[in-house]
Symmetry: D2
């Protein structure tokens, strides 16, 4: 169906474009994949990472393009829109291009921010699945993560209720002597549940858990999500799954998921997350969605796994660094690339006249309030001052606007 | 692959049988479905309820067979195994048979009970997906349910922090005046998290929620799960989604999800759950898995939706009533069938010599401890006493062993 | 000053009568006490129990008169007023009479009930001191009791924070292994503090106590108050002070104040409470006030100590049993007298026509609502039925109205 | 009894000296007081402030001597010992001298610090009463303070449970709309109860208070204790008692004890605290004890009231500033004296060679560990450096060693 992307809202564009979205079989053909390398999930697919990387391991990588943005105004400057636009532009020129972006959290999606990757015709589709659950990775993380907390609190309850002899007889376990004042891990839920940030748990009686202070964080802040963005493969994930510090014992020694003997079950819940989800732009260029760690408390990048197979499948693979050049771009170079060993060929710095003016000293920009006049009329002086700071804001590491390397 | 079901463990049987599991295309052909009536999810599929029921609405229903069990010993008497066995037996005779059972909760699965539907060759496959997540229904229920709690607690926080004028200006809402001592709804998580049963939430500061006592229950105990088992269709679900009582206001009037204006978003999270998941026995007879409410606090049945399409797709559709004849069987007849308007043709009462002896006055059976001698040798007297009580234990409603109706 | 007790309010009667209250020196002379046997406390005095009992131990006891009441209507039938009236009546006849009643709790005093012992001219004075603090016994109990809780929670904190070796080195103590789910003792405060009934304590960090559920009760419900009413002397108190069960350890063994090594410090806080406070009626007959345990959860009697010296100092010593014949009277005979070995000569059963009618089947009497008509007109039938139940309500033990024994 | 103060422990000195302590009658004569200006409390007395100040208001004040100390080493340098020594020294010379110091808190007394004012023969007696309860002021503060908290939490409970109409009908009160996240006042208890520092209160049901975070502080940190040290008289106390901010309402307006209508009852509990307690040195010079606010969170001084009557009764009245010159001395001049309008004639700066050496740069002094060698041998250089800092440490306000003013 033809549609008018200028007059339509994003969700209308998405719905119109979804009508001709490639089927799994069409994707398989388009991406030169083997039959079992693509796994359908409703209207989406997962790509079987292990099979693809194994088959293509000898193939030369494509060009690695990274998109970041100037430190944004509160309105956002359009990093994902740039990614979608580049995908569509290069795709229109007949180039074999693909990319990967991060999965959004249910927290912002259900708040004011809402969700969409891109906008207008430079849009990732289908929007509904993207915004609500995708193929289940965040739910898997939630179950795996909270299982560790169940194991931890059950262990503390048993160690409190039983003496050494009873503990050994009833659970076959030795005492871990967890210090309840040094439990580092909390529970997760994928909403902005302010009421669960600081809680007291384990009230009731002897069989109602261990009484202590605890907390819920947003699911994507889980160490498991950070892990998903940097693991090399399933074996790496399994190994790391035993090494999460959940608390300290009374002598100050870390207690890990391995000590709780829960790493295997956690990996079982996470088994499908290793395979990136395949989506596409409104013009049907392939774009994976994989991992969604925040940049403030984690690496802020989509996964190394997705980039690894993207660089095999596409001549040009685009990835994105959140939140912006002052944090995500820095972590892309100094954390993600050091883990992956991959070297980008180009970094794109998304910016706007508005952001440059603000960095040049323009008046404060506030979401939900009309833009100050300075942003609606030409002011080359302000712009010039701001340009000098476009590359200055990212305070550490390599910085540039459209700076080529290699 | 041929395999020896006698010598192998359940998970080995499942793995062996999985190798030849029908693909979505094969299921489509086998079940005479249209292309878009079957939706692949990894190795599983969902059946598009609305499309199937709409296409087949004029078709005459098949025979409706219900399986329950005698009030069980702590070891369980094998209700699901009986369902799988009947499916395989009737399938071997060339009959067009299918069924539906309930989805298990992550709580028991991760505890001693573990999970499997059936055992030996009378097994539902693939076991891994069955035990861990299926196609995501419980996760969807968790997100939809907890979203209501986020809306409730956020509302309480806002109403506490703002006066009427501020509240209207900032949120556009009138005051609901929720009584914090009469909040009925809790949060859910799909584990047996004893530590979260009784909690205090909303500690911290002004923006950290509303301070009150709260609770987490197991996910399958959610009213949404009860609802999923009895809704007629998506419109019915949407309507019910506004009518969940979450609390009472200070005058004693119920506050609903509709008052919180969250029913639409909850339904959005639940949108896929309306479509039953398709699995099969180790001999590849089709068996849906849909809804998993507990029988003690809810109806204890798989869904009306699955039975409705099962009766259209199969000449014989088998369903199961948990936990046993004294509770699930009763609720099948007096709740589920009254809602659905469907009339069973046969009820099967699963029993064992062991259970009959116990009901006849035999010594206590305890899980994890060797069976008392009385159960290992012939005792016809005990058996006779027990037989008289096979049909007596279900204290209300119609009761019988293999009793035909209609 | 002469005053008109009919027209004046109780507090006005008290203030008028206070002007001629005996001084400590006058009391000494009046009661034939030695110089250091009477200890002034502002307008009140304490009697030095140990000195008095030691000096008079060979003297024959006076007559022991006990006052109780019919199970009361919600309006109260006037037990204390009867005590004050008997004291004044016998005093007017020139008899050497004195008595002892219980100290009121700050909880009821600060609520609707307010406080006064007696009313009209049959009043205990000075009212202010009687209502607010007396000579400090309840405060002493509060400090002694809460000190045990501080010791308990500090011990739990240290045992949690340190391993065996650190614990021994830092505190010189072995591990008590207190089970936090079996802490029996709570804190006390002498108000009806509903907000402190169920609390969670020990939040914050490592040095902020032990995280657990706890509770505050009203001060007079303390075991120390119960103890004060039945101890024989200071040595008995010291011994009992080590035997209070505060919790159980993980093997189910009681943990006592003695285990916490806090009995000595508690006794130090309680050192003055052993000496009864001396007050008087509005007509200056002596009346001690000593101990104030509730009858529902404790013995409901003033102290054995006060009765012991009262019987030495007075020819007639009057004591009172709260709440009424169905509970306090019973406990007087079967608990207090068995501990003391003292034998009453007379019991007085206070009653009213109103209470007798109510027990005879009259309509419900509610505080704050006008009396039903049945109570305002003669109804001998109702009265007769009620009379039969005056002595029936106290279901166990000896019962009577003005029944003489010996 | 003669005793050897060099060989005896403080408590033995106290016990020996107590044998000849003046009786109330002897104090009356010695201090030229009227009969009802001195009120006995066991072995102690209170001085009736209102009567004394009223009778002597025209009399010229004596000399006002203030004692403070160099910023101390952790071992303390002996401020109170200096006060007792000066009292005894001037007394021996036949001068009419008296003084006033602060009441100690039960928290430090029951911890490592223990309690005593002075040491050796320069000792305040009787020690037992001084350490444990005195004449009840801290208990009175505890009851008055916690009564405000009971009123506050009861009000919050009622406002939560009832709508405007019910509230007016049941309590006769308008809604205060207290913001539970801005309750400033906590409860008090006179021990170092770490477990009660951070608590959650109001758990249970509808009648079990208002659910919120709360806290217990040590009793002497109460605003009532700060108030006691600076009030001019009972009328001033009553007025201030209505002006304590307990919380803020939802518009940010302070809620006071006056709003809770509890100021009168609080003052009633505090009625006796207005009268300073009279004690004496081991050589029987009079020394009052009145008020005990901490210097870190309050004024750190004994009361203006005691100084006012001390200056009338004695030719030389000595008072003390805690903790030391860098905080209490500063507050004495800039807070206490500005409130009282009194002008000191001399300030005494207590110091030790040890403290001077430490301030001169000597090694760290730690309680419970042997003194470093530098403190056991002569080191005039270190001493000289320290001397320059004796008057420097108090960073603001007038500072001096034995500096005369006026």
């Amino acid at each position: 169906m033809a549609y008018d992307a200028v007059k339509m809202k994003d969700w209308q564009i998405s719905e119109a474009a979804e009508e001709n979205m490639p089927t799994p079989d069409e994707w398989r053909e388009k991406l030169n994949l083997q039959k079992d390398e693509i796994i359908p999930y409703g209207r989406l697919c997962r790509l079987d990472f292990m099979k693809i990387i194994d088959r293509l391991k000898a193939k030369k990588d494509g060009k690695y393009i990274e998109v970041t943005a100037i430190t944004p105004t509160p309105l956002g400057e359009g990093k994902s829109t740039t990614v979608m636009g580049i995908l569509e532009g290069m795709g229109k020129r007949g180039l074999n291009v693909g990319g990967c972006i991060r999965q959004p959290s249910g927290g912002p999606t259900m708040n004011i921010k809402g969700t969409a990757a891109g906008g207008g015709n430079a849009l990732l589709i289908p929007m509904t699945e993207f915004s609500m659950g995708l193929t289940g990775d965040i739910n898997d993380i939630m179950n795996a993560h909270n299982l560790a907390m169940v194991a931890l609190t059950a262990r503390m309850q048993h160690e409190r209720n039983y003496d050494d002899e009873q503990l050994a007889r009833l659970t076959g376990m030795r005492r871990l002597d967890i210090d309840p004042t040094r439990v580092e891990m909390g529970w997760i839920i994928d909403f902005c549940a302010q009421s669960l940030r600081n809680i007291v748990i384990g009230l009731g009686g002897r069989m109602d858990g261990y009484t202590m202070q605890s907390k819920f964080g947003i699911a994507v802040s889980s160490e498991l999500m950070a892990m998903l963005s940097i693991v090399r493969d399933l074996a790496d994930m399994r190994e790391r799954m035993d090494n999460i510090t959940v608390a300290f014992d009374k002598k100050g020694k870390p207690i890990t998921t391995g000590d709780l003997q829960v790493g295997g079950a956690m990996t079982a819940w996470m088994r499908n997350t290793i395979n990136p989800t395949l989506m596409c732009t409104a013009e049907y260029q392939p774009c994976m969605v994989h991992a969604g760690p925040f940049a403030n408390i984690a690496v802020g990048q989509s996964s190394i796994i997705a980039d690894r197979i993207g660089l095999k499948m596409f001549d040009y693979h685009i990835t994105e660094s959140g939140f912006a050049a002052d944090i995500g771009f820095e972590k892309f170079w100094n954390v993600k690339c050091r883990y992956s060993g991959l070297k980008p060929h180009v970094s794109v710095l998304t910016t706007t006249i508005r952001a440059l003016k603000m960095h040049g000293g323009g008046p404060k920009v506030v979401a939900g309030i009309p833009l100050p006049d300075a942003y609606n009329k030409e002011d080359l002086g302000l712009l010039e001052k701001g340009l000098a700071r476009a590359a200055l804001y990212p305070r550490t590491g390599p910085t540039a606007a459209m700076a080529p390397w290699n």
